[in-house]
């Protein structure tokens, strides 16, 4: 039995020149490109008088965005809204565009990670970082972190968590399938442990970028 763990992680900050912030995030074969614009001007009709309007766009690789993408957009938007200090930039828009480059499983988690790195690159004020972790439970109750597409398909339940960095609390849970409370707690605990590794990676890549050495 293979030990549970995260696949190799890769990240490039500012790969694009046009957006205010951008990042490519890779987890194994899964790869997402994020572009962040903001705080920027906004249409009067969409303006919120005391905070910034966060907009997330998820773009699939083939075809046009459908229901599933809309659902993911909403999930990511709500997660981002909970950490962005929007009150510092009232009447502005923050647009996050997420482009699927390759889907090799744990796509939602990768979206979240790319969005966070993109926002970090754009220099948006945030109260905490966040990361996405996907866990799957197979029919024997075996837990796998950061699954591939195949593992996701064969699983009984797929749970994706968004975890914030300060106290490793849960921001979002998205799940599919059947699982017990004990299994949920197990997944949360495992996700929190994985989140620590991902935050460590965030820190390392920021360090590499901003330190002189």
């Amino acid at each position: 039995m293979e030990e549970p763990g995260l696949r190799e992680i890769g990240c490039e900050q500012s790969p694009l020149s046009r957006p205010d912030g951008s990042a490519t995030f890779m987890q194994g074969d899964t790869s997402v490109l994020a572009g962040v614009y903001g705080p920027a001007e906004i249409k009067f009709s969409r303006e919120i008088y005391d905070k910034s309007t966060v907009e997330v766009m998820v773009r699939p690789k083939v075809g046009l965005p459908a229901i599933q993408e809309k659902n993911q957009e909403q999930l990511i938007r709500e997660t981002c809204e909970s950490v962005i200090l929007g009150t510092l930039h009232p009447r502005t828009s923050i647009t996050i565009v997420l482009q699927v480059i390759n889907d090799g499983g744990s796509l939602l988690a990768c979206f979240l990670n790319a969005a966070c790195m993109g926002m970090m690159d754009a220099g948006l004020p945030m109260r905490a970082m966040f990361c996405g972790v996907t866990c799957v439970l197979d029919s024997d109750g075996q837990l796998t972190i950061d699954p591939t597409t195949k593992e996701q398909k064969e699983s009984r339940a797929v749970l994706t968590f968004a975890i914030e960095s300060t106290e490793k609390r849960i921001l979002t849970i998205s799940s599919r399938g059947v699982y017990s409370t004990a299994e949920l707690q197990r997944c949360i605990a495992a996700a929190q442990l994985s989140a620590q590794k991902i935050f460590h990676f965030y820190r390392d890549s920021a360090k590499r970028r901003y330190s002189k050495s």
């Binding site: 500012s14 890779m26 614009y37 001007e41």
Partner: protein
């Protein structure tokens, strides 16, 4: 979000530089920016970088029924998307004029030049053919979208492998990549677009204009050509008058550029094929630059989840279970039951009251009749009815009457003065209400 406008001094500077045969990025007139082609892990997926302009291409296929007029030909579909990631000016939703123009040009360049053998995509004539879909996403707009898109489309099409199929009688079997190796598309040639930007009414010309140069150009000439120097499409836009010599010169330049680009694509394809054959690592993750300080990669990371179970159990054991609520249903009548805290149900009480009222009213009616009989005023009865009839026609007035009994008294006094003395206005109220109700029934 609106596009940042180009200031007049920037415009003047760019035009001056072009007149001096200089380009802002240090290129010569006929120089292309660096082209980088990377392929993904999937077949038919590539990213093309033309300088900082970036296009993602993905080819996919599907078995569909062919078009009625072409039963033996596969279908080719191109879709270029200008994602709002590429530039803040690109809005999602309604396709812009630029997008329509680019898509049309792409179709003319690739579909109408018959670079792909569509007949080889036929599985069963008139029944099933392959539909090849090419999705192109612009990720970063730094000028010359068309050239980057055409390179991405051609590279993705060359890289793509469709599943193998076999036909036995009526039955079509599609084999998974594990069963049979996927087959490449048969490409006749590779048409590549080369863009020429014209300045100062065609006096100056630049190959591969950058975004800034595109903003100050007067006209654009796009030539699609293959390496055999066959022109596939030519389009001049912007409304400039070009001389015959200029067009010929451009086509010569295009021929050279196309040969270079075609070679580059083939080299990239060859590289990818070699790596795949040797079983090495491929995909975008491998193309991540190692030296850049903005990029970081870490290897597989084992997460120690051994104590996770204990932790979960601890949390569950510490948590308070929600208090059990015992429900005792009370059977009030056959076929009904009540659960909850035993508070009387208040639903439907209003109706009940009304019903009671109606009953009361009936009694009242009887009373009235009896009183009227008692008072021996036989003539009064029809008179009362007429007044009631008036009330039916104008119920609102009647409502007012209830609140202000005095004017009613005055009004009715003219009709039946005896009755007025007989009954108080309060008494009259339920009666008229009843009448109203009847009218509604």
């Amino acid at each position: 979000m609106r596009e940042t406008p180009l200031s007049s001094c920037e415009r003047a500077f760019l035009l001056q530089a072009i007149t001096d045969k200089k380009r802002v990025d240090g290129r010569q007139t006929y120089d292309y920016r660096n082209i980088k082609i990377t392929f993904g892990t999937e077949y038919g997926c590539c990213i093309v970088e033309l300088g900082k302009t970036r296009v993602l291409g993905q080819v996919s296929c599907e078995l569909v029924a062919p078009k009625m007029n072409r039963p033996t030909e596969g279908i080719l579909f191109f879709n270029l998307e200008l994602s709002s990631m590429a530039s803040p000016a690109f809005e999602t939703g309604r396709p812009s004029e630029l997008l329509v123009k680019l898509n049309r040009l792409l179709e003319r360049c690739l579909r109408n030049s018959k670079c792909i053998d569509t007949e080889s995509l036929c599985v069963q004539a008139g029944e099933k053919v392959w539909q090849i879909r090419v999705d192109l996403h612009l990720l970063n707009h730094e000028g010359n979208i068309m050239d980057a898109a055409s390179i991405a489309a051609v590279a993705a099409l060359c890289h793509f492998r469709r599943p193998d199929v076999s036909v036995q009688g009526e039955e079509v079997t599609v084999y998974s990549p594990e069963e049979r190796d996927p087959v490449p598309l048969s490409m006749h040639h590779m048409p590549i677009c080369v863009s020429f930007a014209f300045f100062q009414q065609g006096t100056f010309l630049l190959v591969d204009p950058s975004e800034r140069e595109e903003r100050v150009m007067d006209g654009l000439l796009v030539i699609a050509m293959n390496k055999h120097r066959e022109i596939c499409t030519i389009q001049s836009s912007g409304g400039i008058m070009l001389l015959k010599e200029q067009v010929l010169r451009c086509s010569k330049v295009a021929g050279v550029k196309v040969a270079e680009i075609t070679e580059l694509i083939q080299k990239a394809l060859e590289n990818d094929r070699k790596i795949r054959k040797e079983g090495g690592k491929f995909g975008f993750a491998e193309s991540l630059p190692d030296q850049k300080i903005t990029a970081l990669k870490i290897e597989k990371n084992v997460v120690d989840t051994s104590n996770v179970k204990d932790k979960a159990e601890k949390i569950i054991s510490e948590s308070q279970p929600p208090s059990d609520v015992v429900t005792k249903p009370v059977v009030r009548a056959v076929g009904t039951a009540q659960i909850g805290e035993g508070i009387e149900n208040t639903w439907g009480e209003l109706e009940e009251e009304e019903d009671e009222e109606e009953e009361d009213e009936d009694d009242d009616d009887a009373d009235i009749v009896s009183t009227s009989i008692e008072s021996d005023k036989v003539t009064e009865k029809p008179a009362k009815k007429t007044s009631a009839d008036i009330v039916i026609s104008d119920s609102e007035e009647e409502d007012v009457v209830i609140l202000q009994p005095e004017p009613q008294a005055k009004a009715s006094s003219s009709q039946a003065p005896e009755e007025d003395q007989d009954k108080s206005p309060v008494r009259k109220t339920p009666h008229s209400k009843k009448k109203k109700k009847r009218s509604s029934h």
